[in-house]
Symmetry: D2
Subunit: 261 residues, 4 copies
């Protein structure tokens, strides 16, 4: 079975900023797709903001096992409908990996239910990423810590819910720390937030970063069949109750009536 990954990128800085264009001539999405396509059992394609429906039609999402998301300058240009569609796909079982500034993307904020804010500084400082949990599948093949010589700083407090697991924590040269790898589950979908990836540095060319992304795709993949009616709240008729019961007391609803929502 091949895991179908889609790397979504707003693809704005690559078009407008020569530093980013030089680092990522095929786009951040291009580099990540290449890294994932070099992984056994993973087939990666890309989608961008500029495509119809941002490249994320209902049909496309239905065939996406894991969606990676990079956004920064154009969060508000993502349509609410597509953001809601992505969240619903996650509930139904699609994996979702939010990269770096995607902490402020519409789908990530909707899935977290929090402000998702943080502090930041663009100084090209050193970041050292530590594992808190040796042998976590997302950390497979990594040393206990590794370094990115130039990165943007993100600092705590990070406005997200307590995760299922804190997999990575970053140390920054300027004195801050950050929970850089966090796992969540939303419905049947696995989520991973991964901090590094500022556009003016070659982060996505780094072998350790590519290793994390590959691991995360494998981890986030839920092989179960996607849940069909993921927001459905079905009435269980009285004569279909698992144990035999009879109606008692007074009622608001008639038999077979749909519930309010």
């Amino acid at each position: 079975m091949t895991i179908r990954a889609v790397i979504w990128n707003e693809n704005v800085h690559e078009q407008e900023n020569e530093i980013v264009a030089e680092l990522y001539p095929a786009g951040i999405h291009g580099v990540i797709a290449d890294a994932l396509n070099a992984t056994d059992g993973v087939s990666a394609t890309t989608a961008t903001l500029q495509e119809p429906e941002h490249g994320l039609s209902a049909a496309r999402l239905a065939e996406t096992d894991v969606l990676l998301w990079w956004g920064h300058a154009a969060h508000s240009d993502v349509s609410d409908a597509v953001a809601a569609r992505v969240a619903e796909a996650v509930w139904s079982g699609m994996g979702f990996i939010a990269l770096h500034s995607a902490h402020f993307s519409k789908p990530f904020k909707a899935l977290m239910g929090t402000a998702c804010n943080l502090t930041w500084r663009e100084a090209g400082e050193r970041e050292r990423i530590w594992l808190t949990s040796r042998n976590h599948p997302i950390a497979a093949g990594l040393p206990d810590h590794f370094t990115l010589e130039n990165e943007e700083m993100y600092g705590e407090p990070f406005g997200v819910p307590e995760p299922l697991e804190t997999v990575f924590i970053s140390w920054f040269q300027g004195g801050e720390v950050f929970r850089s790898g966090l796992t969540y589950k939303r419905g049947a979908g696995n989520l991973f937030y991964f901090r590094p990836g500022h556009e003016t540095y070659p982060t996505y060319h780094d072998p350790n970063i590519q290793c994390v992304l590959r691991n995360a795709v494998l981890w986030a993949h839920n092989p179960a069949r996607r849940i069909a009616d993921v927001t459905d709240a079905p009435n269980v008729p009285i004569d279909a109750a698992p144990e035999p019961i009879e109606a008692r007391g007074r009622r608001l609803h008639r038999d077979g009536e749909a519930g309010f929502r």
Copy 2:
């Protein structure tokens, strides 16, 4: 210090259905307010859908320590602006208690980031509520289990994120189970979901239920001063870094520039 609780109710069934009107002549919100006002250190008022801004102006929320929410038939009549305001108040430290069918309310869904769906049946069947965690503050004064002779059934799977704690689990006569008491934290705000409370039964007159509501208000209250700029993502200037660093590498942002969001 007095905890200021506000019970919000859509207040629709009480106006339209004679069963509900008879059970709750002063509204579901009225019964709950009375129960809370009988608690030392708690002062409870009410707010309803029909009031301007649904009774939840920014000024009102700023003076609300814990908000309880009952909604069912009119979820979609709640304005998006008020729902977003409630979520932001929670992030800043306001407690939030979602009651029964509020599982499908706009603020609860926004704070969970999930579909919040379930199965249901209105048969007046017996519900028995079990503690999973003896001596939890929300369970103070309760026996290991207690019974509601007539309740609506809510069944698993319940489409919410894994909670911090599962405090109560319900047994239903018809054969289902449900995680009936769940705690969460969103930003600085404590959240509690509490299942019972169907409008055609006298649930909110039950002493054990009133005990849970009182406990939950005390538990949800965060005495810290509300966070002022709860969605702020401040830049930390390079010369204000905790450790002395110098700018390196190439940059996207100019000094003092606001970040994207």
Copy 3:
């Protein structure tokens, strides 16, 4: 890669009680091993209390990917050394599945850090097991609920820590509920507690139960290489610090000294 599962059984009731002997002529471990061996990619063997070192030598555990544990009448006959060895193997990455009355086994209690107590009743009553999380890997292929016509009752409160995930909850005919499927992580090892399995009923012959056991073995397996020195707390010499620093202040330890433990 084949997952090497070992089913450990105290194997006492099978020898002493004719009901159990009749239900499980090859032992509870025998039935489970057969079910697992029918699974692609799993190779299952057994170990029992009566063998030297209870069949769980250090060498055997080093070659065990997932250990399943059934114990009841002879918890105290398990040597402390073997129990500690099992816990340490879990920390290093071995999966562990505690079955039914193994809630009171030495390794499970040591890994939980709690009393692991519950209420119980042997009445052959009906148990209905509900999924809380559709599409969880451990629930693959299962309906939203399934029934065991005769089982022992275990009731809440269950004295365990809050799990990572509550996967199953049981409804009992006599009115109780129980968190029947719980996931944990201890070090690099995945843990699953699964409630059903009273020795006087044919539970382990049930296809749904066998399905859960198969899923749980696949889920619990950590493919990473076992951690070698899993209790090691190494000193990081000053000249090996990731960032250059110099010793300051007064010291208790000399260079290269081992820490206290």
Copy 4:
């Protein structure tokens, strides 16, 4: 109601090392007791390894609301019986705060169920402690970060279970990070691990550290009456089942028989 805190200290370095004796002439326990006794509603006393039963008789623990624990050189001198008694008191509702090198203490390891190991370095380097969760009760009154100019380094991976909440994360000058403030619940007892506190530095004289300890005592206190039979696993007789049932199937136990454990 006054919260009764007990600070337990092995009290070894103070007797044997002149640096420690000079910093803590009344012992680490003395400084902490003074800080807590300056808190409204808290009454603190001390206990040490050298006292009979290490100062922690069953009667003393029964009257202890929150126990703080400092140990380092003499972990193995703590009797297994007292360590087990402490763990059981936590299950019954006593708060427990493990300080610094108490990560390797017998009660903490027993309550975690893991190796509790880490990396370390005694270089007097700078530690900066960050809040991940603004307005957490344990962080009340603290800035988003504060600094200890000289501390021992503890580095990740830290071999503990995923906490309920990660409240603090430390940055170290030498390049490491550490989850320095972690909350857990074990039975009815609240647990907090707090990292700083190396004996050759004046950490416990620091106002921010004293603020955390005061907050932690208030947070860890469970006002509920202590659970009496905290390891009890009672049989529920068939005629006492919440719902009427009749015995079916074959049985191992006779009526009223105690369960195995």
